[in-house]
């Protein structure tokens, strides 16, 4: 029986869509049948990040309203066997779908034989959020090491628990080890201390994410990308494997070394 995982955060711009795309691809690479569902109706992005925008004919709202069959709306990603995208409608809003309809949709996706159904949740805690979590039985909360994002994540965890989605996992995104070392950024421990949920992965701030996102190719497939490696680890942890957290020791640049030397000589 398939598992429905919602990727949520509360705050916008912390990397829900990027995380959804990468985890979806990662699971597909691991040989699972995955459906990526974009629940951000009216502000869809997942199709763009996946590079599948030009193949959309039907969307989630069409499926829910019965204009098409679910198979017609699922876009097969030709690069990864077993990966499908159910895009959101761009011309409608969150009220076009109800939580009950989303529940039904998740059930019918399970019946289609998907191992994992990844739901990309919109920012906020209103209708879109309620829709996205309606059919989920597991949640991944994405946050960045910023006070505002952590605050919103805390609120989201409370709402998830109120909706009986217990034990959500945490992903800390865009961590900058150099800033943490200088004490300018919250550390992993700072974040987990506040949120007190199990951490499933830490993704370092990585330029390659911007590049891969713009290209429409998820970073998880990029062997050289540190963020890609982090997402591969998260995928393995979702599959139940025990993978240690990445070592984030950054290589110091020549200038940094010089600066250090200079500081010491003072």
């Amino acid at each position: 029986m398939g598992e429905v995982i919602v990727i949520t955060s509360g705050k916008g711009g912390v990397g829900k869509t990027t995380t959804s795309a990468n985890i979806g691809c990662g699971l597909a690479i691991a040989g699972k049948k995955v459906a990526l569902v974009d629940a951000d109706i009216g502000l869809r992005n997942l199709d763009v990040v996946m590079g599948l925008e030009n193949r959309i004919v039907y969307d989630l709202v069409d499926v829910v309203e019965g204009n098409c069959k679910i198979k017609q709306a699922l876009i097969k990603d030709k690069r990864y066997a077993g990966l499908f995208l159910l895009p959101a409608a761009q011309t409608r809003d969150k009220n076009a779908v109800s939580p009950e309809q989303m529940q039904k949709l998740c059930e019918s996706l399970k019946e289609e034989g998907f191992d994992y159904i990844i739901i990309d949740c919109p920012a906020g805690i209103e209708q879109g959020f309620k829709n996205a979590i309606a059919g989920a039985n597991r949640a991944l909360v994405v946050t960045t090491p910023e006070v505002s994002a952590v605050r919103d994540a805390d609120r989201i965890i409370g709402l998830l628990e109120a909706n009986e989605i217990n034990n959500p996992n945490l992903i800390i995104n865009r961590l900058r080890v150099d800033m943490v070392k200088r004490g300018d950024m919250m550390s992993i421990d700072d974040v987990t201390e506040i949120l007190a949920i199990d951490i499933i992965g830490v993704v370092p701030d990585d330029e390659s994410i911007v590049i891969t996102t713009n290209k429409g190719e998820p970073a998880v497939n990029d062997a050289t990308s540190k963020a890609g490696q982090a997402y591969r680890n998260i995928t393995q942890r979702i599959l139940g494997e025990d993978v240690p957290l990445m070592d984030f020791e950054v290589e110091e640049s020549f200038i940094d070394k010089l600066k250090k030397l200079f500081r010491h000589s003072n």
């Binding site: 009216g42 869809r44 925008e53 030009n54 193949r55 959309i56 004919v57 761009q90 011309t91």
Partner: protein, 186 residues
Amino acid sequence: MIIFSNENENTSDIADNCDEIEISVAQVGDSMENIIEAAEVKENAEKTEPIISLTDEPEITTNKRISELVATEFIKEHHAKFHKGNLRSGMVLEYDGSIILLGDVNPGAQIRATGNIIVLGTLKGVAHAGANGERDAYVFALKLAPVQLRIADIITRFPESSNSKSNINPEYAYVEDGTVFVSTFE
């Protein structure tokens, strides 16, 4: 007749009122129903004359004739909606007839007409001409780079355009033998 998703349109602006002008060319025997329909769509009737008669021949108004005419394509062909302004992501411009757009269609926006579509700007979103199954419909744009193009029941994807942004290269897409072709406009 027209569904336009942007509800926040500023109707107080006089310039805006001129944006959407309904032009109906009354043909020989054009049905009264059509003329009335066209007049109704035009809300600011006092500013423009929606009906231009090209002929002095009397109208044929027998019921049989009207029903025949309603079914023919040329009536639709001669209905065109003018729209001035860009279509941004999430906006839909729909019309039962042809559309002439003075502006761009951005990615994520849709333009859909039962007739032809002419974009005097860049077409980057989704365009659907001949939406009721009319394969003779065509799509013209000063820069044709849609995410997806549909003519009648045929859906095509466009290759990523490598043209520079400033390069204006009028092209039109049409259907021949069930395939969409793109041709430069000469």
